[in-house]
């Protein structure tokens, strides 16, 4: 239940905020040095970092539960124990991947 809601929330969050930031980033790159400087200023500010970390967490979470969905689509993983294990592991994996991603980026 919780995993399903989280999948929907992160998916729609990515669709709105994630794609908006992606398009802004590409638009700033195509717009030239000044437009990119404006984007960078917002992206590297404290609120920008919250949004970017949020987007990356939403992506890794949506990716983990999405892969779980793909596995379940082929009819696997419905045993109660297996199902429960992966429903707990998915958000945990997402947090680990988010932390690892930013550890590399900020290194």
């Amino acid at each position: 239940m919780f995993i399903s809601i989280l999948h929907r929330v992160t998916g729609n969050g990515l669709a709105v905020v994630g794609l908006a930031v992606l398009v802004w980033w590409l638009g700033a790159l195509a717009g030239g040095v000044q437009a990119y400087a404006s984007f960078s200023e917002h992206a590297s500010s404290w609120y920008g970092m919250i949004v970017l970390v949020g987007i990356s967490w939403a992506f890794f979470n949506h990716m983990a539960s999405g892969i779980r969905h793909l596995v379940m689509d082929i009819g696997a993983g419905y045993e109660l124990g297996t199902n429960k294990t992966w429903s707990i592991l998915c958000p945990a994996i997402a947090i680990v991947l988010t932390a690892a991603f930013w550890a590399v980026l900020l290194a």
Binding site: R8, A15, L19, V23, L26, A30, F59, L70
Partner: protein, 126 residues
């Protein structure tokens, strides 16, 4: 419409028969997003910095530009399908139709703008 039993109304309208197509495309684009967004994530981790010259030179390369163009198509398509499901669950009647029309306009506009930016960067317009 609006008269008779529930089953009678369903028989009169019938299914759109587009459900499987929608479902399959959601999966195809999901796999596309998985590959392309992992590519983007790893590429960002490998970039030495995020300065304008570094990033614009990187994305102008043939492979990154192609991958980014595919990423835009796959992710906007996936987002459009996913948000449609969400809208269908929570909005009803005429508002639902209006919301889905708006969703389609925004999704296509966003994807078109993203693709234009990538082409401009790749062909040295910027």
């Amino acid at each position: 419409m609006g008269n008779g039993t529930s089953i009678g109304r369903v028989r009169g309208l019938g299914a759109a028969k587009h459900g499987t197509h929608h479902w399959l495309l959601q999966r195809f684009t999901a796999v596309g997003n998985l590959v392309l967004l992992l590519w983007l994530g790893i590429s960002l981790m490998l970039l030495p910095n995020f300065s304008f010259p570094t990033v614009s030179e990187w994305i102008a390369g043939p492979v990154p530009a192609t991958a980014m163009a595919l990423l835009i198509i796959s992710s906007f398509w996936h987002a459009r399908l996913g948000m449609q499901v969400m809208l269908e669950d929570y909005i009803h009647g005429a508002n639902r139709v209006a919301a889905i029309i708006a969703l389609n306009l925004v999704a296509f506009a966003g994807a078109a703008f993203g693709l234009f930016c990538v082409i401009r960067l790749a062909l040295g317009g910027a």
